[in-house]
Amino acid sequence: MTSDEFQRLAAAFLAIAAFAPSAMAKPEIVLLRTKATFSAQSPESHWSVPIKSSDGGTVYILSLEPDFDTRHHVVTLELVLRHPGENSTSANLLDPTGKRHGLQAYDFAAADLAQGADKSAFGEKRVLSPKNLSLTLQVTISRTTVKPTSEAAYEIERLDLQIDISPSKA
């Protein structure tokens, strides 16, 4: 190899190395504004929406999953983020550790909403920025109806959420 050939090869290598990070970067999450609805009239129809990236692929599935009491009242609705193809036993990616207990910002519990969404533990506007997932969810409770099932328990009759999904830097 001549000196000229070596220099041209080195220059080409450097050029590729300089552009490689941007060429290999993950496609960005596409902005999405959507409305999630739950109604006790049809508790088995679970709301879900695909979250897509700029290359058109589905990156995540966002769903609203009911959690029942012994009399089949919906006590809590959980906003769940998963990779496509994962089943209902797979971890919720909104839980950064995968082992959290207790009410979280992605939970909507009837008892917590009984005095109004604005008085709930996490408020009516919630921002979820799960680590390392390159997206932010802004969730607004636009409508909620709960009713008592017994002296100290409640069930969700209706819940409407406005959800805005935007890309964020991981």
Binding site: D67, F68, D69, T70, R71, H72, V75, T76, E78, T89, S90, A91, N92, D95, P96, T97, G98, K99, R100, H101, G102, L103, Q104, A105, D107, A109, A110, A111, D112, L113, A114, A121, F122, G123, A152, A153, Y154
Partner: protein
């Protein structure tokens, strides 16, 4: 009269051959029970109790429960600390369970297939009610978490395996 060399045990009403893993004398109730005179509680151990070999009866349940069944479970402890809940005192939702109820002694975190409000008797812990959830990967199958008011108590509980937990069917 039993044959010589049989390693047997007398269980109140009849003999059990430990090497064969079966009773070697008939159930004294005979045909009034089931067709197999050598079985125990219709082979539905540990749901049923038949100490006198006379009639399978449902075990008396603890915690005021009328009907229950026993499941061998993995039982661990948790508390309100950041490690268990991702929240510190003063944070939104601190001390509140997934069902919206306040965490207190007797609070149990169970997998989602066990409804909120399900009563349980956990030996060495006592009576409790399912009010909470944990991560889908950790609190799953037959793994439950029982709540303690301090991290020290939760750590002292440690990991209890094969605990015969009574699950209330009422």
């Amino acid at each position: 009269m039993l044959p010589e060399g049989v390693n047997s045990s007398y269980y109140r009403a009849r003999y059990y051959d430990q090497s064969a893993g079966r009773f070697i004398s008939e159930d004294p109730i005979g045909f009034a029970g089931e067709q197999n005179f050598y079985s125990y509680s219709n082979n539905r151990v540990p749901d049923l109790d038949d100490p006198f070999g006379l009639c399978p009866q449902d075990k008396p349940c603890h915690c005021g429960c009328k009907k229950c069944h026993t499941v061998n479970m993995l039982v661990t402890g948790y508390d309100n600390s950041f490690r268990s809940t991702g929240k510190n005192p003063g944070d939104r939702g601190y001390g509140i369970t997934t069902s919206g109820a306040k965490a207190e002694p007797g609070t149990i975190a169970a997998p989602r297939h066990i409804p909120f409000g399900t009563g349980m008797y956990v030996p060495d812990y006592g009576c409790g009610t399912v009010q909470d959830r944990g991560g889908r990967k950790t609190i799953a199958g037959t793994h439950i978490d029982v709540w303690f008011s301090t991290t020290k108590q939760a750590d002292n509980w440690g990991v209890h395996r094969h605990v015969p937990v009574e699950v209330c069917d009422d």
